[in-house]
């Protein structure tokens, strides 16, 4: 457990990270200390009210080590990831700033990374992003100037070499713990570990995977990952989430890109008297199974429209093993001196 006085001040973008750390975020500290880390996704509001962000973060902060703020996931427009991260860091939460390559070019993204770092953001998750056609504004122009891998390398260059991709010097480089996604249960299965290796090569320090519902497939993936020695080079947080109902699961499977839910999981939910309860139970069981797999460093809970369940899921799964979560919340803006 990390004592409170050991935590970095609310916003101190220039604080030296501890030895052996690249950013010194709470998530990085937990992972490097060998603890089983927990992160969760915050569903961004369709509103300009900061209270909506705080309301969404409150139940998560007590049970996770960092809150992920999605960047128009599924190409649906919501409050921006950088806006949410800025609000949350101001009151002391640990955040993961998600960047999708779909909507912004290299000029915008590199600038936003500096802006986020100045607001105290210390974790960033580099994503390619779903195609615009999956979202609520399919007529939008897709950008994809970077892909997730070249983006990782660009931010690592900003951090370690202290320069933009234009070669221009950055006087105070951003301290970022670099994350990437992986989708172990999606085709092409045989190349997924190789692409993971590429992401590590590009600069990834941690990985948050897409939903994992298919344990045999995931274990096969992890076996390959261990054979390649990748689990020694990167912290892998496995994505899980509660299924609301069999109908919702089927809809997700056919409408949200890259989601694989095996039939037997959906059948189990369908046959249960309370489908939502069963979905939650499956999620807890998955977390417990995932925790036992060698090479896994944590879990990432994505509970779209089921945020109220996150804290129960994490506490009932017992992954925190009695330690306090570190994403925290230490000050309310109104009470700030």
């Amino acid at each position: 457990m990390i004592p409170d006085n050991d935590l970095p001040p609310l916003i101190d973008p220039f604080a030296e990270p501890p030895p052996g750390h690249v950013a010194g975020s709470r998530l990085e500290r937990v992972l490097r200390a060998g603890k089983f880390a927990v992160t969760a996704e915050l569903n961004p509001p369709d509103s300009a009210n900061p209270e909506d962000v705080y309301d969404a973060a409150r139940p998560l902060g007590e049970v996770v080590d960092a809150i992920n703020s999605t960047d128009a996931s599924g190409a649906n427009c919501h409050m921006s990831s950088i806006g949410i991260c800025s609000l949350l860091t101001r009151v002391g939460y640990g955040t993961v700033y998600q960047i999708s390559c779909r909507d912004r070019n290299r000029i915008a993204i590199q600038g936003d990374v500096l802006g986020a770092a100045a607001m105290g953001v210390r974790n960033v998750l580099c994503l390619t992003g779903d195609g615009v056609g999956a979202g609520d504004q399919p007529g939008a122009r897709p950008v994809f100037d970077f892909d997730s891998v070249s983006l990782l390398r660009a931010i690592r260059t900003m951090r370690d070499q202290g320069m933009f991709l234009s070669g221009r010097k950055i006087t105070r480089p951003p301290r970022m713990f670099l994350g990437a996604a992986e989708n172990p249960c999606n085709q092409p299965y045989q190349w997924r570990p190789d692409r993971l290796a590429k992401k590590i090569e590009a600069g990834a320090d941690f990985i948050q995977t897409n939903y994992v519902y298919d344990m045999p497939l995931f274990e096969k993936f992890m076996a390959r990952v261990r054979d390649m020695g990748l689990d020694e080079k990167v912290f892998i947080l496995v994505g899980v989430g509660p299924i609301a109902s069999a109908k919702a699961a089927r809809w997700m499977r056919s409408n949200v890109p890259g989601i694989h839910i095996p039939d037997h999981v959906i059948d189990r939910v369908e046959k249960a008297p309370k489908q939502g309860e069963e979905g939650k139970r499956i999620c807890i069981e998955l977390i417990q199974q995932i925790r036992e797999i060698k090479g896994v460093a944590g879990v990432h809970v994505m509970a779209y429209r089921r945020e109220h369940l996150v804290s129960e899921i994490i506490l009932e799964s017992g992954v925190l093993k009695g330690r306090a979560a570190t994403a925290g919340r230490r000050r309310h803006p109104q009470r700030e001196e």
Binding site: G133, D145, R195
Partner: protein
């Protein structure tokens, strides 16, 4: 054409062989190109290149050809134009997330690379595309780069990209070029 493109990936090995010969030829011709002037041969060469690679690979003339690192499957045909794919949205059977009737360009790429001698190049991180080089000849760029063996450039941005993606430059010189560009090779698309 989609079918020819798939054919090219199936025959990645012979095309790799052909490409190596072509590359050697282009590098050997560098003194001649330099004498004529790269600026003068840019347009005719780009026309030939567009014709040949358009037929074989559905080439989009990005000017920064990386086919030898992508199993002879052109990454510019990926709707997200990934240079390091595939993304997480691949559909069952290896089909594209955005164009479900099309085989994922990057599943093809990894498949194709297994057939190539230099297939391991696909493990190298490739830099983002320099959009100002679109429409120009990647072949001439390779001959300039390889013949010149430049290790640094006066252009800070080019040096920065080459430093950030060092392996890519070794494998695919045109993906992170350092040599000065002849005027006719830059911003061709914007001029249209």
């Amino acid at each position: 054409m989609y079918r020819v493109r798939l054919f090219s990936v199936r025959h990645a090995r012979s095309l790799e062989w052909l490409y190596k010969r072509l590359e050697n030829l282009m590098v050997a011709l560098d003194p001649l190109f330099a004498r004529i002037g790269y600026d003068r041969i840019e347009v005719p060469m780009a026309v030939v290149e567009r014709g040949v690679k358009g037929l074989l690979f559905d080439c989009r003339m990005c000017g920064q050809c990386v086919l030898s690192s992508t199993g002879m499957s052109c990454p510019m045909n990926c709707p997200k134009q990934l240079r390091n794919g595939p993304c997480g949205g691949v559909r069952p059977g290896g089909y594209c997330e955005v164009k479900p009737w099309m085989k994922c360009v990057w599943c093809e790429a990894w498949e194709g690379s297994t057939r190539m001698q230099g297939g391991a190049k696909i493990h190298e991180v490739l830099p983002p595309v320099d959009r100002s080089l679109e429409g120009s000849s990647a072949w001439l760029r390779v001959s300039r780069e390889k013949a010149g063996k430049l290790r640094e450039s006066k252009d800070a941005a080019r040096t920065a990209v080459a430093v950030a993606y060092p392996g890519a430059r070794d494998n695919e010189p045109s993906s992170a070029p350092l040599a000065p560009e002849p005027p006719s090779a830059v911003n061709r698309m914007a001029r249209r």
